[in-house]
Assembly symmetry: C2
Homo-oligomer: 95 residues x 2
DNA sequence: CAAACATATGAGCATTTGTTCATATGTTCA
DNA sequence: TGAACATATGAACAAATGCTCATATGTTTG
């Protein structure tokens, strides 16, 4: 990958982590394997639309994945990078 | 630290990584221990003002530190979290 | 098939963010 | 001390971002 390209992709990835709503969603998925969109909007006390928009961002960044079960769509963490990136961040701010 | 507070601090930290200019500055400091502000603006081909504004952001996030030597101020990475956070990000996008 | 339910999406709006421009602050040296 | 140099900073503006509202899409069930 070209450096120039890498820089933009990296920036885009970190932008995704740079919003407290999205972090809240990820934190929720640390504690409970799966959540439906309604489950998240209920837990986080935000509108279904706001959650759905943010899930789309998280999914495009491949931080969450989804599966459909009937009318519902369940979201879960896509891979372990989410955990490691966030825990590196926590180490930094907790110093 | 309260969860609420942690979320905002984490988001703020990741926001700092979420800009390609700031990443460029950090990358430059990976390759060369120290840079003056002019050195960075020359290397990255950006105005002194733009670099200076971004260095301020990086410094507030404790990602870089500075020391004065005469008229110049030299910036360097503040700690190793910068490297680890960025390398975790790289692992994710390179999959 | 129609109604009910779950989720996605586009437009609009307010807020945030990154750059530029002008200027201020701080340091050295003649 | 004053001129030259290096960096910092504030205001202004354009672009990006996150939420809301209205509505579209997709799925189940009577």
């Amino acid at each position: 990958m070209k450096l120039e390209e890498e820089l933009y992709e990296l920036a885009d990835l970190f932008k995704v982590f740079g919003d407290s709503t999205r972090l809240r969603i990820l934190y929720a998925l640390f504690e409970q394997e799966e959540y439906s969109v309604f489950g998240l909007s209920d837990t986080l006390q935000m509108t279904q639309s706001a959650i759905s928009h943010q899930l789309k961002v998280l999914k495009q960044a491949r931080l969450v994945k989804s599966r459909r079960d009937g009318k519902q769509i369940f979201y879960s963490l896509d891979d372990d990078h989410v955990r490691t990136i966030i825990s590196m961040g926590r180490e930094h701010i907790e110093e």
